[in-house]
């Protein structure tokens, strides 16, 4: 049991959450971080889907890593990811139809997320299944927390709501005689680049010594 949670394995899980974060350090997966974070709920669902798929793709690739011909390894990885994503999306359509409608294009977008291919190539190809699984979960969650922060800021200031619930009192709004207006910039994808920039800035200054 102690071997399962050895220092190396724990690092595989915890490093991507902070010091080796896929988004704020490696700047991967930015595209989807802009596309799905204008509201909190899709950001959370996207983060979780990527976590699950990265973890399982990592395990599968890790299991067959010794048999993969080197010259077509990227294609093999792509096929595994695409097959997984397709199966997940079919299952969602059959058993939780409402969720699949809400996710619509995002499920397909997971295939193109560079975090996935990055982890398969950089980690799963060289490591055993269990550390690969932890690495997948860690990277997925590392990606998810950045999305959640983005979704939180953008929905709160862009719409005055969180998960669809009104947070900023209606009476504050200009149209109701108050002084407050939703920030239209927050709704635009460009704004999430600026917020990602701010997160990277804060993250770097907090972790200056550890570099």
């Amino acid at each position: 049991m102690s071997k399962l949670f050895s220092e190396e394995n724990r690092a595989a899980f915890s490093k991507p959450l902070n010091l080796d974060n896929p988004v704020v350090i490696q700047v991967l997966g930015i595209c989807s971080a802009l596309a799905v974070t204008s509201q909190l709920a899709p950001a959370i669902v996207m983060g979780l889907s990527v976590t699950v798929i990265t973890a399982f793709a990592n395990v599968i690739i890790s299991l067959i890593r010794k048999t993969i011909p080197n010259r077509i390894r990227i294609i093999v990885q792509l096929v595994v990811v695409a097959a997984l994503v397709t199966i997940v999306s079919e299952l969602l359509k059959a058993y939780v139809y409402d969720v699949s409608v809400q996710l619509s294009v995002y499920v397909g977008l997971i295939i193109t997320n560079c975090i996935l291919m990055g982890r398969l190539e950089a980690f799963a190809m060289q490591n055993a299944p269990w550390p690969s699984f932890l690495d997948g979960i860690g990277n997925g969650l590392g990606y998810a927390w950045v999305l959640v922060v983005l979704g939180f800021v953008r929905e709160l200031f862009g719409f005055g709501t969180l998960l669809g619930f009104q947070i900023i009192p209606q009476s504050w709004y200009v149209e109701n005689g108050g002084w407050y207006m939703n920030n239209g910039m927050m709704v635009m994808p460009a704004m999430s680049l600026i917020i990602v920039g701010c997160i990277i800035w804060a993250h770097r200054s907090l972790n200056k010594e550890e570099k």
């Binding site: 204008s38 199966i87 862009g158 239209g184």
Partner: protein, 275 residues
């Protein structure tokens, strides 16, 4: 002394020198991210056990086996799940039609299939409504294009309502919806719209009830003339005339799509509306 090669595990950058650099010039990772690359020549003899995974035959066989396996897996999943998915889609379409009647289909205990039994699927053909005999359609875009005009007729609180399917194009993909009319066929009772791939948080908000409910009670025509459908989606916050509806902030192009879809969709039914 021969130079050694070090590879950055994060971005794949290769550094040549006696030791790993303090930080990676490409991705900024620290020295601990680098691992030394042992020259291929030194490793190759030790690897010669079992099958040669880099031979052409192996690669081709591997690829073929993988493709066949994955194809079977996907085909199997698809066949097994198809009936359940179709039932879901049909139920969802019925739910969308009922939503256009301002029914809360998410409410506890609401049974879409049961409620839908009171809705008649009719066709507008040669100047009259005839019952539709075919299989229930889950998408009306094709039917509309072929001039097959479906009209759903039902009663809400004793009053006849007509539901007309509409379809169009948004910014990224298709849009569709259902517009229900009051018995006089001149005012909108309710609407339902949805989309295949509009931007989340912007265009995709057309699927939210607050937007759809703006159409409720709007007249189809401006003034007395009933020649041209006048209902219009305008820039968010600028609706002034009776037939204007506010668009969505930050989604002007999707708004234009809805505008065209509703106006053209209802224009198809002009004969029916003016009957």
């Amino acid at each position: 002394m021969a130079t050694k090669k070090f590879k950055c595990e994060l971005c794949g950058y290769i550094h040549e020198g006696d030791k790993a650099p303090a930080s990676c010039p490409k991705c900024g990772a620290g020295a601990d991210a680098f691992t030394e690359i042992v020259e291929a020549g030194a490793e190759a003899p030790a690897k010669k056990k079992g099958i040669d995974t880099s031979s052409n035959t192996y690669t081709i066989l591997y690829a073929s086996a993988m493709v066949i396996l994955v194809a079977f897996l996907l085909a199997f999943t698809s066949i097994v799940l198809k009936p359940t998915q179709d039932a879901n889609v049909e139920n969802d379409t019925k739910g969308q039609i009922l939503t256009s009647l301002n029914m809360d289909i998410k409410a506890n205990g609401f049974n879409v299939a049961k409620q839908f039994e009171s809705v008649q699927d009719m066709l507008w053909k040669d100047g009259q409504l005839v019952p539709y005999e075919g299989k229930f359609l889950s998408s009306y875009a094709g039917a509309i294009k072929e001039g097959e005009l479906h009209v759903f007729v039902t009663e809400v609180e004793g009053e006849t309502k007509y539901i007309l399917p509409v379809s169009g194009r948004g910014l990224w993909g298709s849009l569709w919806g259902y517009v229900s009319l009051n018995a006089d066929k001149k005012t909108i009772f309710g609407t339902y719209f949805y989309h295949s791939s509009e931007t989340a948080g912007l265009g995709a908000r057309l699927g939210e009830r607050w937007f759809q409910e703006q159409f409720n009670g709007k007249p189809l025509f401006a003034g007395e003339s009933t020649d041209a459908v006048a209902i219009k989606v305008v820039k968010a916050g600028s609706a002034s005339a009776e037939t204007e509806v506010n668009g969505i902030t930050g989604a002007t192009l999707t708004g234009n799509g809805i505008d065209a879809m509703v106006r053209e969709g209802l224009t198809n039914y002009l004969d029916f509306i003016n009957q």
